[in-house]
């Protein structure tokens, strides 16, 4: 079973803090690791993504750190804002036999307090 384990389940930080969400995977054949952001009543939206040949990727206030040997990756949100309050999902893609399905972690509900 291809799994992606995500933690914590929920996270509360003060405005300006740096929430960190962690994910771990088992299948070394995963070749693409995106993060999605979901607001209530909306579909998940692609936030940032990384491939396993890169150790870090930064886009604005969002950074992915990737540790291939440990099979772990994490999302850091710099200078967090109340508008960042949402559910965040990590995911991993297996590309094999013509399939490009994403397997999602169980999500982290982030609350940023003003």
């Amino acid at each position: 079973q291809q799994q992606v384990k995500q933690s914590p389940q929920s996270l509360i930080v003060q405005k300006g803090g740096i929430p960190i969400i962690n994910c771990a995977y088992e299948n070394t054949a995963f070749d693409y690791f995106p993060w999605y952001q979901q607001f209530p009543g909306k579909g998940p939206a692609l936030l940032i993504a990384i491939r396993p040949d890169v150790s870090e990727k930064k886009e604005g206030r969002f950074t992915i750190s990737f540790n291939k040997s440990a099979k772990q990756f994490s999302l850091h949100i710099m200078d967090s804002q109340p508008g960042d309050s949402a559910t965040y999902f990590c995911a991993a893609r297996y590309s094999g036999a013509g399939s490009y399905q994403l397997t999602f972690g169980k999500g982290t509900k982030l609350s940023v307090i003003p």
């Binding site: 995106p34 999605y36 909306k42 579909g43 993504a49 399939s99 490009y100 399905q101 999500g107």
Partner: protein
């Protein structure tokens, strides 16, 4: 312009009924998907489909069936609805090589 659109947004129906959810994407993507999000927010793949192949998650009951009239549409038909089918269903699409999914805004299905 909405990239991936689903209809209806809300669907309330009785047990045993048959219902359909429609999905359309205007991104020119090759592959479309259906995901189920349960009350705990867990996203689970149900189907992926491109013009070559339908891949079905083996845990999905055969009461669920995808229908694709063309590359831009993937509809979900559900027969004999059960209480446990209540969830939010998301359609998504991707251009496979690049990997990113674009999701629709979801259909909240409530079976009473």
């Amino acid at each position: 312009d909405t990239a991936v659109s689903q209809t209806p947004k809300y669907l309330v129906t009785q047990m045993g009924n048959d219902k359909s959810i429609k999905c359309e994407q205007n991104l020119g993507h090759d592959t479309m998907y259906w995901y189920k999000q349960d009350s705990k927010k867990f996203l689970k793949i149900m189907f992926s489909y491109n013009n070559k192949e339908l891949i079905i998650n083996e845990t999905v009951p055969n009461r669920f069936s995808p229908k694709s009239p063309d590359k831009a549409h993937l509809n979900l038909h559900i027969n004999s609805l059960e209480l446990g089918d209540s969830a939010v269903y998301f359609c998504a699409s991707s251009q496979d090589v690049r990997g990113g999914y674009t999701f629709g805004s979801g259909t909240r299905l409530t079976v009473v």
